[in-house]
Amino acid sequence: MTEQPRLEEATNFLYPFIDGTETDAGALLVDLTASALTKAATSASLRRTTLESCGALITTGAAEMGRRFAAGGRLFTFGNGGSSTDASTLAALFAQPPMGHPLPAWSLTADQAVLTALGNDVGFDLIFARQLIARAGPTDIAVAMSTSGTSTDLLLAMREARHRGMYTIGFAGYDGGEFAASPNVDVCFVVRSQSVHRIQESQALLGYRLWAAVQSATDSPAGVWAESRGVR
């Protein structure tokens, strides 16, 4: 077995009260368990208030998304960091749902060749906008997931999406950031919290509810298929 170097905590000197001789983990585990329960309750409470404040927007957004899917539209999702993975989860839910009918959706972070080519050649701020230029059209849908609502690459992508006639949906936290005021964002879901983690947990549920509402709006798979190919 290879001996691995121990991590040293470089900031320990900041915490002289830390007890390096503590040996009984029982008290800590009790505290951690109580903390987990409190945090989960906070998350659940935020999910509840978020769904209340965003309920009408979910209905509005899902109706337009349903119209666009029926007309052959496709969904492109994107975000940075953890939000990029939540955007990928949402795209996968639309495209490979465990139940209901699949709808065309992709995450724009899926291909590292494309991402690094764009980041290297035209700059990180354009990694999503340039993909929309190449792939997206006026019946398509853009979903940008963010906690700050102010990331430059997302704002530029939403501007490009607007320019191309796409329907644009933004997810943000805090007070909504620049998404909330942007004319390039048709629907802005704001999770009013200061915690990135709690924001993302509520955003995931919002995305899920949006998917469920779109499934209802496009209830007949055959109908969607027929309409998307102009045979009806």
């Binding site: 691995q4 905590e9 830390i18 368990t33 903390s35 987990a36 329960l37 993975t85 990928s88």
Partner: protein, 239 residues
């Protein structure tokens, strides 16, 4: 299809999260890398990794965590993980790749955390089983898994504020040491049997062992080793 607003957090899950977090902090403190796999939900593996590598809270320590994605996850974990590392999986109890990784964890010397929902894996299938009871097949997309691994990160960083508790407990505290006594140790066969001996990988590293008691063995077989000898071949996975 309306996911519940309430969250499937229970006292039991909170306690399991606490134990997993302390264990994870101890392993990181000992130099571990955390390998993240989620065969059906790649994005969850990547979210866990980015959470630990690039914390959202400025000033928190960046920790080595890596998402493994794509084909042959068993082979990827086998070649990546070193003894003392951690594997965290997000998957249902029947996922064949995750089951195969978990079965090999003791032979590789890695600590395991298994996050999922619905039917639970058997007790002991992983060192820490963080389970949501709902069997909703869409649960993976509702944010509940995200909450579980967010809490895992948050609690792990609380543990770092208790340096006295970060030394992993020794396996040899009892009068009879499991590691050194006459119980068999799990190992994975590295090469097909030749001339009654073979190479195996155990938590101690690579060992040459005698196989005459076990009969023919192939690379990837799981065995029990005692005193330089394979004393039993472990059965196949029973889903």
């Amino acid at each position: 299809m309306s996911a519940p607003v309430d969250i499937g957090m229970t006292q039991e899950l909170a306690a399991d999260l606490s134990a997993a977090s302390l264990s994870l902090a101890q392993r990181f403190s000992g130099g571990a890398t955390m390998w993240c796999i989620a065969p059906a939900y790649t994005s969850h593996a990547q979210h866990i990794a980015v959470e630990f590598v690039h914390p959202v809270i400025v000033g928190k320590r960046a920790l080595p965590a890596v998402a493994l994605t794509g084909a042959d996850l068993i082979g990827q974990v086998r070649v990546s993980a070193r003894a003392g590392d951690v594997v965290v999986a997000v998957a249902g109890a029947t996922d064949p790749e995750v089951r195969a990784v978990m079965r090999r964890a003791a032979a590789w010397g890695v600590t395991t955390i298994w996050i999922g929902n619905g039917e639970r894996p058997p007790a002991g299938a992983a060192d820490h089983i963080l389970w949501l009871d709902s069997d909703d097949p869409t649960l993976a997309a509702t944010g509940e898994f995200v909450l579980v691994y967010h809490l895992l990160w948050e609690l792990t960083h609380v543990c770092f504020e208790h340096p006295g508790l970060l030394s992993a407990p020794s396996d040899c505290t009892d009068e009879v040491c499991i590691t050194c006594s006459d119980e068999g140790r799990p190992a994975e066969v590295l090469t097909s049997t030749q001339d009654g001996t073979t190479l195996v990988r155990s938590a101690r590293g690579t060992e040459s062992v005698v196989t005459v008691l076990a009969g023919p063995l192939d690379a990837g077989d799981l065995v029990l080793v005692h005193a330089g000898m394979v004393i039993a071949k472990l059965g196949e996975d029973q889903p």
